[in-house]
Amino acid sequence: MIRRYAALIRNAWLVDLQYRASIVLWLLWGVTEPAIALGIWWAIAGEGQIAGYARADFARYFFAVMLINQLTIAWDSWYLDRWIRDGDLNYRLARPLHPAHEAVAENLAYKARTASVILVVWLLVAVVWPAVRLPLAPGRWAITAVAVLLAAAMRFFISFTTGLLAFWTTRATAIMELHAGVSLFLAGRIAPLALLPPAVAGVAGALWFRSMLAFPVDLLTGAVHGTDAIVRGLVGQLVWLAVWIGAYRLAWTRGLRKYGAVGG
């Protein structure tokens, strides 16, 4: 299986190298949104604090968002939707390799290249701008790595499962867009959850949105502290990951039976 993943990732990178401009565009896209959010909160915060967040806290928060969003984001619903509707799923189903493996490999390839660039940018900025420096805390970083892994797995299954809806509807990507729109607020992309009205933040925590991004970000910046809060966050991630894996399995087996295999 390692050899297969190596071959899949190699091909993904080879294709990327054909489109150097698009790599830059994706990176700009990944950087722009948190940069704008940071700019706004920077201005609003002034010399004071909002819900405990001063300027430097916002800076650390959005640099963490920039990095962790790239590490956990999944585009699979767009690919799946196209595979199913154009019939490109056909030859993938005829191979002795579950199509999800190709999707996971694509994710690893994408994440490795964008996240590594963002990490380098963060390090360089940290040299000249002390506000975005993180305290040295290897233990916290290790727990964050686990939370990032869980978030990435969950977002993968959310995206993959939503893409599978293309077996039934032609609007699968619209559903994913809607989810992305909601997560802009509920996952903490536009503001730390602590700044949202408590009811809204409660919804984000009860559903899977906090586990997607805000929780690992808060872990990294130190906003989540205490063993209790950390364990509760990780358990929440595990529960929602299990739910989405269940949803994926249901959609996959039901969807294949429903499949029209396009053409002929």
């Binding site: 071959a7 054909q18 019939g87 056909n90 189903l93 005829a94 499949y259 295999a261 053409g263 002929g264």
Partner: protein
Amino acid sequence: MPSIVAAEQLSKTFQVKVRDPGLQGALRALFRPRYRDVHAVRDVTFRIDPGEIVAFLGPNGAGKTTTLKMLAGLLYPTSGRVEAAGFNPWTGGPPFKRRIALVLGNRQQLVWDLPPEETFLLNRAIYDIAEGDYRERLAELVTLLELGDVLQKPVRQLSLGERMKCELVASLLHRPPLLFLDEPTLGLDVTAQDAIRRFLTEYRDRHGATVLLTSHYMQDVTALASRVLMINRGRLLYDGALEALVARIARTKRIELVLGARGGGGGDGNRVTAEALAAFGAVKSFRFPNAVLEVRREDAPATSARLLAAFSVADLSIEDPPIEEVIRLAFARGVEEEE
């Protein structure tokens, strides 16, 4: 010899949403969708032996590709039973998939932006092909398909024919005993079509592979298939040799004549007239010195003898009517009623 493919009472029914035209229809479909059953394949039964090349014949939408996709495990049958390469395609999983190849004329697995060799290497990893086997098989396929220098060019720069050849390479590196080919020569020029047909026959002879294909080109069928499965509106109309189908459907044969410089025989000495030929059979075309007559199958030998006696003939051949015409007749009239 056990069959490599067996289908029993195989059926596939799709549910298709029906919508009345116009905005009102769209609104009604939104709130109260109606569905109609489309019976793409109905109670199809057949067996295929190892090493056979079998073609599915039928007009667009007849159910050929649907049948092929059920055999390959892409589509779930509504009812009936399938066994292919020793597996139920639906539950066979990776062991089944290692024993088949699926080539779709209108879809490609080659990575568009990379040279074909990168897709081959990917498949080497996916199918766990040992390095030595990979090199040996690649060399064989490249030679048989005359692919020489295209392996390093990006796929997007290849011609359609080169692409289809590379698709075949990618699909056959794991040397599957059972090949499903859906329109493998679609859109190719005559030379490329011919190359692919020669390759498929050669490949079958070398490795004893079984080939099931669908095609719109009768040439594919006549050149490749020892047996045809004729499908129309989801039903199997005929299963057997192509020649036997022609014999059953076509009650006539064609006698093609090239008349000698001196026509001889009837009429005014050395001009043969259409009227004179009409005494022997239906004149399909006549332009001195070429003539085509249509006669009843069983009369063909006797009529030929009489023609040779009556005229000075440079050449004479007895042919079946063009296969396209036979097939058209078969679909128009059905096969059974000819018996």
